[in-house]
Symmetry: C2
Subunit: 267 residues, 2 copies
């Protein structure tokens, strides 16, 4: 029943998909991570990243050697918040299943909505309408999607004042924070109505800068949905059709931590 | 020319591969990373991992909150060594291309070779013969493979004495280190004759415990081939047929750093 011609035609279609499945060869990897250095942005009250030199130079034995020590708060730079950050007895960063931070990703772009009334006020709350506008173009968000929001903030990194409203540090600076975030209503919609497995965005916090009660964090983490923060380079991604892979540092009992976030865009 | 029956048959073959290519749905993810905690193993002279509590408990505003600070040397736990660790002006960990730490992986198992003469001496050097024995069974190692060695050491983690020969700390303890490593000859063979893009193993160092001159590190890094160390769980992998994904913490100018190493085994 299979003529050789038919067989060959079928095979020609089949081969690229097989190759891709086997080796992730056919496509591009995109790095969505800021690097960790002295200028990496942290919450005004959190310890910044510090790297100190243990040794860097020629050793007595005649070869070059370099090594450094690190110190930082968990929640700065490109990182993930684990549910236990705001939900007692919920999972810590080392217990987040790999499958929850790996999967089909989409980008919802809301940069045009930010600062519409007052350009200096970047406290935009991403709404259910923003999500539905994406769905009008691309169809309903599928279960187990990882949803990223491009608020246009990454262009300001690492300028603290432009990125998060203030370059000041300490308790008093918290009231001066100003950046876009996900509204609690939209977070609950994504969790309960769409069954997303993780969310992320290009600002310091999934709650907006003006937040006092961190309702979006609490709504997400109660539902065991982790949040990626300070994600970079979202404008290099299509609105859909990529695989997101976010691999956090495996800190036992950690409330979050440095995370390398990458995307694979198949050709 | 395409009868409906032929078309349907072809499609049935095609669909699983397509699904897999799109979402990495068809298979299993394996975590190859030890976690970071007070018992995580570090070189006797290196600062160990420390996590300190910033806050963990009920806040005045009526919700739970937890956050921690971290500190550690770059080279401990499951981590990658960047070329600049032993090769001046070579790339740092943030500059390792994503594609170099993502790709088809294989596992070469040498646990049976370790301690054959003297069980207490774990300083086995993985040889070119060990690699060729794998090739006899599976064929020549393909270009751009990531080669992992299972020396059987992970079973001892985190018992420092059993895993690396000593639980002592400080300069004097270095002479007591004892664990398997990759011989410089085998490293050069993999780099120059097989074109591998990265290597890794389940011990604290790609050079064996007795090494004084770190010749394997130097041979690899001169050739810009990074090394994964303290990789976990290699016995959960097949000898070949998986994709390795190792994503390091993106430390600007770092000589290495904490790395989440995972594998995808397609079904």
């Amino acid at each position: 029943m299979f003529s050789p011609t038919i067989y060959c035609c079928a095979l020609l279609f089949f081969i690229p998909a097989l190759l891709q499945a086997a080796g992730l060869n056919q496509g591009r990897w995109i790095d969505l991570s800021h690097d960790f250095a002295a200028d990496t942005l942290y919450w005004p009250t959190a310890d910044k990243f510090a790297k100190s030199t243990v040794f860097a130079g020629e050793t007595e034995k005649g070869y070059y050697y370099s090594a450094y020590n690190l110190a930082a708060a968990e929640h700065g730079g490109t990182h993930v918040d684990a549910p236990v950050h705001f939900a007692q007895d919920h999972i810590s960063v080392d217990k987040i299943p790999l499958e929850q931070l790996i999967g089909p990703g989409i980008v919802i772009r809301v940069a045009d909505q930010v600062g519409k009334k007052d350009k200096s006020d970047r406290n935009y709350l991403i709404s259910i309408d923003d999500i539905k506008r994406w769905e009008t173009r691309h169809g309903a968000i599928e279960k187990d999607t990882i949803v990223l929001f491009d608020t246009g903030s990454a262009q300001f990194w690492p300028d603290a004042e432009k990125y998060m409203g203030t370059a000041e540090r300490g308790d008093a600076a918290v009231a001066k924070l100003s950046f876009p975030g996900l509204s609690p209503e939209a977070a609950i919609f994504l969790a309960d109505e769409r069954g997303v497995k993780a969310v992320g965005l290009d600002t310091p916090s999934i709650d907006y800068g003006a937040s006092k009660l961190f309702k979006t964090h609490r709504a997400l983490f109660k539902r065991n949905i982790p949040a990626l923060e300070n994600v970079a380079n979202l404008n290099a991604l299509p609105d859909k059709g990529f695989t997101l892979i976010a691999l956090p540092m495996k800190i036992r009992g950690g409330s979050g931590g440095p995370t390398r976030v990458v995307a694979f865009i198949p050709q």
